[in-house]
Each structure stands twice: as structure tokens, then as C-alpha cells.
């Protein structure tokens, strides 16, 4: 790849060389460095300049000057002065030649140089030394035309600053404009036949022979006469031309030609390595922030890079990512194909093994990417076709790591869409890996695939993949029911036992976390190395700037602070991301198993520790979880204000998670307040969000129709509600969503309870209970127990004792982990049990019933659950009536009336809706 040797000498690099000279020969400076720390700081600054890739383009002299002003402290003006005068004094090709031979003097190792006092001898193999050597080499391979171009560019580079800063900065360089005129004329002088630099070349050759080339420098190619110069001219965007040339515009005027063309001065790309690093960073940023990166601005930058470096194909990949995250399907497909047509999958993928034949194309990676793209756009069928093709090609090419990744992608795909679509295709075309009969269900296929994928990843030592496979396994264990003896299914169906294994989930999650300890010992990669220096440069301009300026005299402190700042990124972002997802999964696992505090803790851990490294959609998801928690435990008011904050934070990003959450909360609240029309409307909106394709967005579809059934139930349309719940049950059964069925069974029990058919409700409640038991859904089990108790209670007062025992059994779980609604329900049911128990007398111990009722009504008022609150107050009023406490009775009755009125007239002004 020719692109690897893109190290061209540019004016900026000349500037850096000048600074290096200042650093290395401090005695030459008229005011020498006042302290060691000052000297060191300059060194560090130069180091970061050579490594940084903040931007694709090199900074202009102006930027350099302002940075120097910040870093240099009292020495700043002198540094700037020296730099500008040195750079602008280069006025003929010969000056450049002498400049670069001087530069060689500050390198250690050459005997000819007289060593001065105080001189810092640069180790030729240090980073700075290497940089210097590369500059010198790049200069020496320049043809004479190249030198002329460099000279012109230096002229333009200086000119802008001189014209901008003249009044206050450059008092010394009054005569400079004349110099520049002659400078740019130089380029047009006919000096083609000038023989030059013979001696320099000789020296360079000798050096080349001795040096250990550890960087990408294809010396042969460079010597072949390719003029290494990436200097380019941008499109003129605005005009500013000399007034002096107006009178005879048609005459060719050497002094003005460059200005006519380029008002901004020349633009230089950084080295190839730096541009690649920049692109990698940008890719990370896009993947992290998704759609929030502005499409057009980035597209403009990419277009510029493409113009400057048409052979840098990675730009197409960035184009692809950009259009992918802005949901532009056609552009994404186009750019993806384009990228792989040019690069053949060799460029830019870190998992390509270096030992293998590097020339062989890796189009299987193209397939993998295409598959993931289809998956992203919600085309599961195409995605699967492409991924199976990827499996096949990876096998043919024996690219094991790609195969492992592809298998992981397929697992991901089939667990996400987990539906009948996959069944046919997987069964037929994936036979080489797993020869399974068609009788095996999708889930079992998925399980086998996951195992296979994990095994491959482990044998190939792809640590990240292993970790994410463990995560996938945990997810699978969480969501799928294990049928015991899955592959040997003889005997009647009844003999198979369904259950989930929380232990497996925990085990997988823990295995996933091993990743971090593995990375702690690993040395940092090239990419992180680069990011390191960029971070340093960023910190420099922000908080460190002031630190440097204020603590001028204390030598040690600054240095430590610098090191501290730079340590932020010792673990790769991808590792952190996977770890973060493990916490996210932990949170959802605990949510499913019904431990609210643990779910909350894990979500909080994620939100505090991993938001920087994770994608914004994941962060939004965690926020959604926390807000949901808030709604269940502190009422809607808190939740809605938190939601508002979250919405502002994730303005354009992943709206869907927050949108769904918002609709859920609105629905819940509307149901509680008895605002059924609104509830139905919100419910419909939720249903619309799901894709219409079969088997896609199952979670959302389930949610929507569950809520639909609950709305119908609240509207007392029992048979319709039951019908919806039945069809939902069938759907969940069909798509193997057993865990979700527990909820639906409970809802059916609820429907029968409300409709007055307690006897019909009992089997549903019992079924739900047994589901909960085998799937370890503890909180749901408690709530099912509560429903069961309520059902018993409604069968007559002779069952009150039994109901009470059931409730007391469930109370610890409910009070420990349940939300406001559940707790209130339990308390009301408890007191109802007491009241209907013939052996209980109010007069003996009224607090046993009054206390729970009071607590329940407080909680229900927070939730604005009018119906249940009214019931609570009603019971309280009756008890007070019996006890003869008339005043309290009136109070309770008034509250009862208030809630009943609110329930019947739900169209009241709603202050919370204004919040949204």
C-alpha cells in the first residue's frame, strides 16, 4: 500500500523542527530556560505535536503561536518570536538545505558535530529523534521542484500570520514582506537544471544504512523519484486579493498567483498514520453517539479528505458509518460496497492476523459488515442470507476469526429477532457446522450456535469476542427457558420440565468480567498510544493551561498533573463497553428476577462508570431503567421531571428507548387516573412504534398488546380484554417467549377476578405461580400470590384465613422489592382479609387494619391511583364509623369522595402533562 509512506515535509513540520532545535540547543537562546521544568514542558509539547491527530489537517502557524503562548509562560513571546523569524528567514532553496543540515547536528550519533555545553543530544531512536530523521529524510528525497513547492508553502504559511499579527507581535520583522515577495518568486524561476545537494545525499545514504528503520517508511519507493508531497490547495471560498494587482489584472504576476487561488493558505494533511488515527477516532465517535453527529459537517470533512488523499479508502468506510447512523440506506450500501471493492477488506481491521498472507483479499469481512448493516436496518432475512454467505466464505478462506465473529453476529441476529424466519434458513444452509434435524427449535439452534461460537472465540483467543459471547450466553439464559434434556426428546411432552437457571446467568456474567483483568496486563496498542497524546493536547488547552501559567515556579507539580491527566485511557474503550454491557445485563437480570435494589445498583454503576465509553443508546437505556424505577417507587412526578432531563441529554440520540418509556409512563398514569381514552391513545401509539414485519420488535409488540388488554380491563370490557390476552399468550408461545407468559397468565387471572369469576381466575393464578417458580421470577411470584389471595378472598369469608396466610407469605418480598402500587395493593388486601375474617373484631385491635390502610392510601395518593385509593378510604371510613370516630370518618369519606370524583371526571387539568 503506497499510503503507508505518507510522510511529507510541510511548513508545519519545519516549524516543529525549529522548535526542536530550540529545545536541543538551549544555550543558543538569548534568555535561556529559567528552570528545568520549563525546558521539559517545551519538550513535552513538541512530543505531543509530533504525535497528535486532533484533526486531519496540520495546524497553521497561528494556532501554533497561540499554543506556544499558553505553554511557554514568560518565555512564550521569545519562543514565538524566534520561531517566526527563523521560519520566515528561509527565503531560498539553499536556506532550506542549510537548515536541514543544521538539524542533523542536533541528532546524537554523528561524530562530526561539535557538542556544546548544555546541549540535549537527541537519541536517534527516540520519538523526537525519529521524527527529526524522518523530516530530514523526507527533505532529502524531495526533487528540486518539491523544494520549490515547500518554499512557496512556507511563504504562504508565514504570510498569513505576518499580516494578522503584525501590529503587536512581530516588531522585529518589518522587512519581511519584501522577503516574501522574493520568496514566492523563487518558485517560478527556471532552475530546473540546478545540480544540488550531492553531499547531503551522500550523508543521508550513509545514515540510512546505519539506521534501524522501525517505522513505516518504504525507502525504496521514496527513492524511486516519487515526489513526496501531499501539499494541496483547497477550493477558494472567499476572495481577498491584493489591491495592487487590480490595475493590470491580466498580466501574469508571480507575487499574487497563490493568493488568487487560495485565500486560506495551503492545507496539509498530517501523516498517513495520524490521518488513519483520526479516522479511527471519528469512527468510534460515530458508533458511540449514533445519529447525534451532524451528518453534513462530517460529510464535508470526509469529502475534503477524499480530495486530499483519494487513495485513502478508509474514508469510504467512514462515509458508510455516517450514512448508516443517519438511516440513509442507499448511501450506506453504496459506500460499504465501494469501500470493500477498493480495500478488499485488508485495510484497517485489527484482527487480520499479520502472519498470514497479507495480500489475500478478505471479502468475508465485507459480507460480515453487510450482514450487520442489514440487521441494523431491520432486514433480518437479507442479513441472514449475507451472514450465511460470510460463514461459507470464511470457511473457504479459512479465516477463523472472521468465522467466529460471523457466528457471534448470527447469534445476535437470531436472539434479537428470534423467530420463525430463521428456522428454515438456519436449518438448511448451516448444515456444515451443526447438523441438526429440523425438529429442533430455534432457541435450541441458537444455543448450539452460541456454544459453538464461544468455543471458537476461546480457541482463537479473541478476548473481546469471548467476553461478548459470555454476555450473549447470559442473555440467552436469562430470556430462554431450558428444556431439560433438550436434544433427546423421547417420551411425551409432559415429561419435559421447563426452567431457567439464574446461576448460569451469574456465571456467564462473571466470566465476562474476566476480560478486564486480561487487559490490565496487556501493553497498550498503537491506537491508544495516539489517543493518549491527543488527550494530552486537549487537556493542555483546557484546565492545564491555567495550571501551567499559575504554578510557573513549582517545578515538580505540573509534571505529575500532566501524567495524571494522561492516564485516563489505559483500558481500550471496547473493553469498557463490553464490561458496561455486562452491568446493564445484570440490571435487567435482577429486574427480571425481581430484586429492585440490585437492579438499581447495577444500573447506577453503569451510569456512573461506563457512560463515557458506551454508546449513547445504551446510556439512554440505563436512564430509562432508572426512571422506571423512580416511577415505581416515588411516583410519576419525579419520574417525569427525570425523563425531561434525560430527553434533553439524549436529544436526537436513540429517541426510541426514551419514547417508549414515556409512552409507558403516560399509559400507566392514565390507567391509574382513570383517563381511559388517553390510555388507549397512548397504547395505540406504542403499537405503531413496532415494525410491521413478523418476528421483529417482539418485545415492543408484546408490551403494546399487554397494555391494550389492561386498558380494556380498566374499561371493564372483560371479554375483549381476555381475548386480547389469549391471543397474546398464543403469540408468546409461538415465539417461545415463555418467561413473558407468566405475566400474561397473571393478567388473565386479574381479568377473571375483576369480572367476578374468581373460580375461573384461580387456575390462571396458579399456572402463573408455577411459571414464576420455575423461572425464578420472585417479585412476579409474590404478586401472583397476592392475586391468588385476592381470588380466594372473593370466594367468601371462609377463605379469609387462607388468603391472609398467602399474603403474609408474600409480604416480605413485596415490601422489600415491590413498587408503590404493589405494596398498597398488598396492604389493602391484608386489611380486607382481616375485616372479612369472622373471628376478627375491629374493636379489639383496630390498628391492625388501620395502619396498613393509612400507609396504602398515602402511597396511592402519590401514584394518583384513584380507584384503589377510593377503596382504601372507603374501608377506613367504615372502620371509623364502627369505632364511632365521626370526625375521622368524615375526613376519610371526603377523601373517598374526592378520589371517586377524580376518577369519574378525568378530564381535569393535568399539571404533569405540561412537563412533557
Amino acid at each position: 500500500m503506497a499510503a503507508a509512506s505518507a510522510f511529507a515535509i510541510t511548513p508545519h513540520k519545519v516549524s516543529v523542527c525549529v522548535l526542536l532545535q530550540m529545545y536541543a540547543l538551549p544555550t543558543q537562546a538569548t534568555p535561556p530556560f529559567s528552570s528545568v521544568s520549563q525546558h521539559n514542558r517545551l519538550g513535552l509539547y513538541i512530543l505531543s505535536l509530533t504525535k497528535s491527530y486532533d484533526d486531519i489537517l496540520e495546524p497553521k502557524l497561528e494556532d501554533l503561536i497561540s499554543q506556544l503562548r499558553e505553554i511557554g509562560g514568560s518565555l512564550g513571546p521569545w519562543l514565538i518570536d524566534h520561531l517566526t523569524s527563523r521560519v520566515s528567514s528561509l527565503s531560498s532553496p539553499d536556506d532550506l538545505f542549510t537548515f536541514f543540515s543544521e538539524m542533523r547536528g542536533i541528532l546524537g550519533g554523528s561524530d562530526s558535530v561539535v557538542i556544546e555545553d548544555n546541549q540535549v543530544i537527541l537519541d536517534p531512536n527516540s520519538i523526537l529523534g525519529m521524527f527529526l530523521r524522518r523530516c530530514v529524510l523526507a527533505f532529502n528525497v524531495l526533487s528540486f521542484e518539491g523544494v520549490c513547492h515547500l518554499l512557496t508553502n512556507i511563504g504562504i504559511y508565514c504570510k498569513e500570520v505576518l499580516s494578522n499579527c503584525m501590529p503587536y507581535e512581530l516588531h522585529r520583522l518589518d522587512g519581511s514582506s519584501n522577503d516574501l515577495e522574493s520568496l514566492s518568486e523563487c518558485e517560478n524561476m527556471d532552475l530546473e537544471n540546478f545540480v544540488f545537494g550531492k553531499v547531503n545525499e551522500e550523508i543521508e545514504e550513509r545514515k540510512e544504512a546505519t539506521e534501524r528503520v522501525s517505522f513505516h517508511l518504504h525507502a525504496t519507493q521514496a527513492i524511486c523519484g516519487l515526489v513526496e508531497d501531499v501539499e494541496v490547495v483547497t477550493d477558494p471560498r472567499s476572495k481577498h486579493h491584493d489591491k495592487g494587482t487590480e490595475d493590470c489584472p491580466h498580466v501574469h504576476h508571480p507575487g499574487t498567483e497563490s493568493q488568487d487561488v487560495d485565500p486560506y493558505g495551503e492545507v496539509f494533511l498530517r501523516t498517513n498514520w495520524q490521518v488513519q488515527g483520526y479516522l479511527m477516532e471519528q469512527a468510534d465517535a460515530i458508533e458511540k453517539h449514533g445519529g447525534s453527529v451532524s451528518f453534513n459537517t462530517f460529510e464535508l470533512i470526509l469529502r475534503q479528505i477524499k480530495k486530499l488523499a483519494p487513495e485513502l479508502h478508509r474514508v469510504h468506510y467512514l462515509h458508510y458509518l455516517n450514512s448508516l447512523y443517519h438511516d440513509d440506506y442507499f448511501a450506506a450500501v453504496e459506500n460499504l460496497h465501494c469501500y470493500f471493492d477498493y480495500s478488499a477488506g485488508i485495510e484497517g481491521f485489527d484482527f487480520v492476523p499479520p502472519s498470514g498472507s497479507n495480500n489475500s483479499a478478505r471479502y468475508e469481512i465485507a459480507l460480515l459488515c453487510l450482514g450487520m448493516m442489514h440487521f441494523y436496518f431491520g432486514h433480518p432475512k437479507q442479513a441472514l442470507l449475507v451472514l450465511t454467505e460470510a460463514v461459507r466464505i470464511s470457511q473457504v478462506q479459512s479465516n477463523d476469526s472472521c468465522l467466529a465473529y460471523t457466528l457471534a453476529a448470527i447469534c445476535n441476529l437470531s436472539s434479537e429477532i428470534g423467530s420463525s424466519i430463521t428456522a428454515g434458513i438456519l436449518g438448511t444452509s448451516y448444515s456444515p457446522e451443526t447438523s441438526m434435524g429440523s425438529s429442533v427449535s430455534v432457541a435450541q439452534q441458537l444455543f448450539v450456535l452460541l456454544k459453538e461460537s464461544l468455543k471458537r472465540a476461546e480457541s482463537l483467543k479473541l478476548k473481546r469476542l469471548v467476553a461478548s459471547n459470555h454476555l450473549a450466553m447470559a442473555k440467552f439464559d436469562l430470556m430462554h427457558v431450558h428444556v431439560q434434556r433438550p436434544l433427546l426428546s423421547f417420551g411425551p411432552k409432559a415429561s419435559m420440565r421447563l426452567k431457567t437457571c439464574p446461576v448460569n446467568v451469574c456465571k456467564e456474567l462473571r466470566l465476562c468480567s474476566h476480560l478486564i483483568s486480561e487487559f490490565a496486563s496487556e501493553t497498550s496498542t498503537v491506537a491508544t498510544d495516539g489517543a493518549f497524546s491527543t488527550a494530552w493536547l486537549k487537556n493542555l488547552t483546557k484546565p492545564m493551561g491555567s495550571l501551567v501559567l499559575t504554578q510557573e515556579n513549582e517545578s515538580g507539580e505540573n509534571f505529575h498533573a500532566l501524567q495524571f491527566c494522561a492516564q485516563s485511557s489505559s483500558i481500550p474503550r471496547s473493553v469498557l463497553q463490553i464490561l458496561g454491557s455486562s452491568y446493564l445485563l445484570r440490571a435487567s437480570a435482577w429486574e427480571t428476577y425481581g430484586s429492585a435494589p440490585l437492579a438499581r445498583i447495577n444500573a447506577l454503576v453503569y451510569a456512573t462508570c461506563f457512560t463515557d465509553s458506551s454508546s449513547s443508546s445504551d446510556t439512554a437505556l440505563v436512564h430509562a431503567k432508572l426512571i422506571q424505577h423512580l416511577a415505581a417507587f416515588q411516583g410519576y412526578k419525579e419520574a417525569f421531571s427525570a425523563l425531561k432531563v434525560a430527553e434533553e441529554r439524549f436529544l436526537s440520540v436513540s429517541r426510541s428507548v426514551l419514547l417508549v418509556l414515556k409512552l409507558q409512563l403516560l399509559h400507566e398514569r392514565a390507567l391509574h387516573r382513570g383517563h381511559l381514552k388517553l390510555a388507549q391513545q397512548v397504547c395505540d401509539e406504542l403499537g405503531v412504534l413496532a415494525s410491521s414485519v413478523m418476528g421483529v420488535d417482539m418485545e415492543l409488540k408484546r408490551e403494546a398488546s399487554l397494555r391494550h388488554a389492561r386498558t380494556l380491563l380498566a374499561a371493564k370490557q372483560f371479554s375483549e380484554a381476555a381475548a386480547v390476552a389469549h391471543s397474546l399468550f398464543c403469540m408468546c408461545y409461538k415465539f417461545n417467549m415463555q418467561v413473558e407468559n407468566a405475566t400474561i397468565l397473571l393478567l388473565l387471572a386479574e381479568i377473571h377476578k375483576k369480572s367476578g369469576n374468581a373460580v375461573l381466575g384461580l387456575p390462571y393464578a396458579l399456572a402463573s405461580l408455577s411459571f414464576c417458580q420455575s423461572f425464578n421470577l420472585d417479585l412476579l411470584k409474590a404478586s401472583a400470590t397476592l392475586t391468588l389471595a385476592e381470588l380466594w378472598l372473593s370466594l367468601g369469608s371462609n377463605h379469609a384465613k387462607r388468603a391472609l396466610t398467602l399474603i403474609h407469605g408474600a409480604l416480605p418480598m413485596i415490601l422489600g422489592h415491590g413498587g408503590l402500587e404493589l405494596r398498597a395493593r398488598a396492604r389493602i388486601a391484608e386489611s380486607k382479609c382481616y375485616l372479612s375474617d369472622p373471628s376478627y373484631s375491629v374493636f379489639e385491635d383496630s390498628e391492625v387494619v388501620l395502619d396498613p390502610l393509612r400507609q396504602a392510601s398515602d402511597e396511592l395518593q402519590v401514584l394518583e391511583y384513584h380507584e384503589l385509593a377510593a377503596e382504601g378510604f372507603y374501608l377506613m371510613a367504615i372502620i371509623f364509623d364502627k369505632l364511632g370516630k365521626l370526625e375521622e370518618r368524615e375526613e376519610a369519606a371526603a377523601s373517598f369522595k374526592k378520589h371517586v370524583m377524580a376518577l369519574e371526571n378525568p378530564q381535569d387539568e393535568d399539571p404533569l402533562l405540561n412537563l412533557l
Binding site: C338, D341, T388
Partner: protein
């Protein structure tokens, strides 16, 4: 004009001589103070060319390792300023306008450029350069129709050429044929007609035209690469080598010549050498579209798919409407066993050239592969292929086969019959014929159309092979059935 010559005769002549010696800046300098229209044009044009020359030089000087790079003509800005003032003051001649148009195109101001060029050709229609610049600005038929051009026979040439560029080959052909009535000895028109015929894939005609053309104009290099393509397609070894030799002697450093030699080596099966010559053609003209595509073909032959893909992709990026390159990309990926991935490219090519049966067939074959096995889609593609003049008659046969495979014997029989008719019309024989006959015979027998079945069986008897035996036994079986069936009927009716 004549006044000009009186006033600045000497200066002008000096400048013109310099100009002819390609000393552009010198020419411009001589004309510095001249104000005549002709002198102004020559000065500006000389400056423009000087800028172009420098641009070319810089392009080579600055070519960086990451590819590169747009060196610009540094004269353009000042020229634009001057010419726009001249145009505003109304002292600009049609040639000045032409130059202004050029400058505007370089600046990217297409709309104004179009207007200016239109003014130029309307006041002086015989400047073909102006016409062709104008044509380069007409990228869609809408733009072309929106031009207001005064009637002149040059306009007909322009339209014909523009139609050709817009891939409206039939329209273009009629225009050229019409023009040929007036300019009956024009080689140019003949070559253009050949071009149109080539795009319509009428190779025989192209060959005839070029034979005549080369008789009249034996040192012609322009457009001859197309002739070589035709010779290549017809596998005329000696004619192609003769052509290559002749062109090589005329001017070996023309991209066309390199291309022809490349074609010759390709036909000889020496693909490495062929690639070498295509590369040379591309060095001479980096945007030489067909060379990229042809080089892609060579790489495919050499089984160097990544290089082929790269070459095709470059062709596509130069002209995204080049269906051949898209097709090539598709083929390359299909060769690597990535039929689904290849489909993307076939779809592209089919979109651009929807009446080419080869493209549809290629796509159908992708769908038909073992990996995809999407037979319904394949059938759809074959049907399209069959409807647009499928020369090799693959589509009908495949359609019949696929239908038979899917158990739709009615449709299968229909297509076999069509295929059979076609083979009869074209007097072709072969295994397809046997297969069709056998299927039809069996099908008719199942349908109880014994007479028809008998006809097919008897025809099968003319062929050797196992089918002959099958046909014999079928005939025997049917005869016994025929004799026994009526008997059974009788038995039924006369109990």
C-alpha cells in the same frame, strides 16, 4: 476583424508564431497592450493554455503517496475577471465567449457556462469545440431540451452527439443517417454511426463501416479501439493483429493504440501482456473508461479477483452509468462464491441496461446457485431475459427446467415448447433439443394426449443415446395402452 489586423498586425503575427511554438507566456506578453478582439482572444487563450500546461506539470510534481490531488489552473481566476468585464461591456467575440465558457466550467459555474457557450455557438456555429464543451454540460435530456439554439446544420451534429452521450442510440442513429444524406463523404459521420451501431450491438454493421472507413482514412486512430472490440468479439485473430500493427506504426503512444494491442493479447490468451498495455493506456489517459473495464476482464481471466474488482470499481467511479463495469464487479464476486453480494452489482447493471438479456441471465444464475436457491426470483429474471431478445436462448431452456423442478409441468411444457420452436426456427440441435422433446413426450403422455406424445417420441428416435430407448419403450407402452383402453371402455358400457 480586418481593422485589428491593420493595427496590431506585427505584434499579432509575432504572438501567433510564439503561440504556434507553444511559448504561451511569451505570446501573451507580446500582446499585453493590444486591444483588438482577435489579439485579446489570443492573449487570453495563450494564458489559459500556459496555466493548463503548468497544471499538468504540477500534477506530476505533487503526486503524493496517497494518490492526489487537484492542481489547479492558476490563470483561471484572473481570466474570469477579465472576460466577465469584456462580456459586460459587450466587446467580446464568439471565441472569447468560448474561452469564457471554458473558464467558467473550470470554476464550476455550470449554469452561466451553459448560457455563455450558447451565446457563442449561436453567433458563430462553426466552432465545434464550443459545441462539445456545451455537450459536456448537458447531463440529462431535460437540460438538453431546455437549450435555445438557433437553427443551423451544426446543431444537428450537436444533437446527434448529445443523444449518443445520453444513451439514446436510436435517436442518435436517425440523426446521423439524416446528416449522411448531406455530408455523404464524411468519415466523422460514418464513425459515429458505427459507434451507435456498436452500442446497439450490431457488430456486423460496425465491421462493415470500419472496413470502409479505414480504406478511406488508413491512419485513423480515433474510435478504432471500438473496431478492435468488435474484432475481439468475433475472434478475428489476423484482422485484429493487422489493425494493432497498423495503429502501432501510426502512433504507439495513443491510449487507443495501447487498448487495441491489449485486446489482441487478450484474444491470444496472454493476459499479463494485455494488462501491461491497458496499464499503459491508462497512464496516457487516467480516465479512459473502457481500458479500466477491459483491464478488469483481464484480471478476471488471470484469477486475480481483487485487482479485477479494483479496476472495475475505478471504471464505475469514473462513470457510474457504465453497466459493463457493474456487471464485471458482479461476475468477480460471483466467481468468489459470493452470489448474494454479487446480486447488488447485477442489480445495478440491470438497472442501467434493462434490455440486455445477458445481465438478466447472470442475475438469474446468481439466484439459482445452491447457496441462495431462490428459484422464484430466478424465474422472474429469466422471464425478463426471455422477453428481451436472448441470443443464446439460455433463458427459455432454464425457465422450462426451473418450472419442471418446481413441479409446475404446465408452465414447463409451455417453455419447452417455445424453446423447441425457437430451436427449430434457428435450426439448432443439441442436448437441449433432446431434453425438451423427452419432457414434452412424457408430459403429453401424462396428460393423455397420446397423439402429441407420439409425435415427440418419434422425433426422439432420430437421436442416439439413452433417450432413444426411453422413447421406444414409451411408444410401445402407449400403443398397447391405446389398444387396451377402448376395450376397457367397451367393457364398462356393455356389462
Amino acid at each position: 476583424m480586418e481593422e485589428d489586423e491593420v493595427v496590431d498586425g506585427d505584434f499579432y503575427l509575432l504572438a501567433k508564431s510564439y503561440f504556434d511554438c507553444r511559448e504561451y507566456r511569451r505570446a501573451a506578453h507580446v500582446l499585453q497592450d493590444q486591444t483588438g478582439k482577435k489579439a485579446t482572444f489570443l492573449r487570453c487563450y495563450a494564458l489559459y493554455l500556459a496555466g493548463e500546461k503548468r497544471k499538468e506539470e504540477e500534477m506530476i510534481e505533487l503526486e503524493g503517496p496517497l494518490g492526489k490531488s487537484d492542481a489547479v489552473n492558476r490563470e483561471v481566476a484572473s481570466l474570469e475577471r477579465e472576460l466577465s468585464i469584456l462580456r459586460k461591456n459587450g466587446i467580446i467575440d464568439p471565441f472569447g465567449l468560448y474561452l469564457y465558457g471554458l473558464v467558467l466550467i473550470e470554476k464550476g459555474n455550470q449554469n452561466l457556462a451553459r448560457t455563455v457557450l450558447m451565446e457563442s455557438v449561436n453567433s458563430y456555429p462553426w466552432n465545434w469545440s464550443a459545441w462539445s464543451e456545451l455537450q459536456s454540460l448537458c447531463t440529462t435530456i431535460e437540460i438538453l431540451n431546455s437549450l435555445t439554439l438557433s437553427n443551423h446544420w451544426m446543431k444537428e451534429f450537436f444533437l446527434a452527439s448529445a443523444y449518443q452521450e445520453l444513451r439514446m442510440h436510436n435517436e442518435s442513429l436517425t440523426k446521423y443517417e439524416h446528416l449522411q444524406n448531406t455530408f455523404s463523404f464524411s468519415n466523422y459521420i460514418r464513425a459515429q454511426i458505427a459507434k451507435a451501431q456498436y452500442c446497439l450491438r450490431e457488430f456486423e454493421q460496425v465491421e462493415v463501416i470500419f472496413e470502409e472507413l479505414l480504406r478511406n482514412d488508413p491512419y485513423r486512430v480515433e474510435d478504432v479501439d471500438m473496431y478492435s472490440n468488435v474484432l475481439y468479439a468475433k475472434e478475428c485473430f489476423s484482422a485484429l493483429s493487422y489493425l494493432a500493427h497498423r495503429v502501432f506504426m501510426t502512433d504507439k503512444y495513443r491510449p487507443e493504440s495501447c487498448c487495441i494491442i491489449g485486446n489482441y493479447y487478450s484474444l491470444k490468451g496472454q493476459h499479463e501482456k494485455s494488462v501491461l498495455y491497458f496499464r499503459r493506456a491508462l497512464k496516457l489517459n487516467k480516465n479512459y473508461l473502457s481500458a479500466w473495464t477491459l483491464m478488469g476482464h483481464e484480471y478476471v481471466e488471470m484469477k486475480n479477483t481483487p485487482a479485477a474488482i479494483d479496476a472495475y470499481r475505478r471504471a464505475v467511479d469514473i462513470n457510474p452509468r457504465d453497466y459493463r463495469a457493474w456487471y464485471g464487479l458482479g461476475q468477480a464476486y460471483e466467481m468468489m462464491g459470493m452470489p448474494f453480494y454479487a446480486l447488488h452489482y447485477f442489480k445495478k447493471s440491470v438497472f442501467l441496461q434493462s434490455n440486455d438479456s445477458r445481465l438478466w441471465i447472470a442475475m438469474a444464475q446468481c439466484y439459482e446457485t445452491d447457496q441462495l436457491h431462490m428459484l422464484e426470483e430466478a424465474i422472474k429474471c429469466y422471464r425478463r431475459a426471455a422477453s428481451c431478445n436472448d441470443r443464446e436462448a439460455i433463458a427459455l431452456h432454464q425457465l422450462a427446467k426451473l418450472h419442471a423442478e418446481l413441479g409446475r409441468s404446465e408452465e414447463a411444457a409451455l417453455y419447452y415448447k417455445k424453446d423447441l420452436e425457437r430451436m427449430e426456427a434457428e435450426e439448432r440441435e443439441g442436448p437441449n433439443m433432446v431434453e425438451a422433446l423427452l419432457f414434452l413426450a412424457q408430459h403429453c403422455r401424462e396428460q393423455k394426449r397420446f397423439e402429441e406424445a407420439e409425435v415427440y417420441c418419434t422425433r426422439l428416435l432420430d437421436y442416439t443415446g439413452p433417450e432413444k430407448e426411453t422413447a421406444k419403450s414409451m411408444l410401445r407402452g402407449m400403443r398397447t395402452a391405446e389398444s387396451s383402453f377402448p376395450l376397457m371402455d367397451i367393457e364398462h358400457f356393455h356389462p
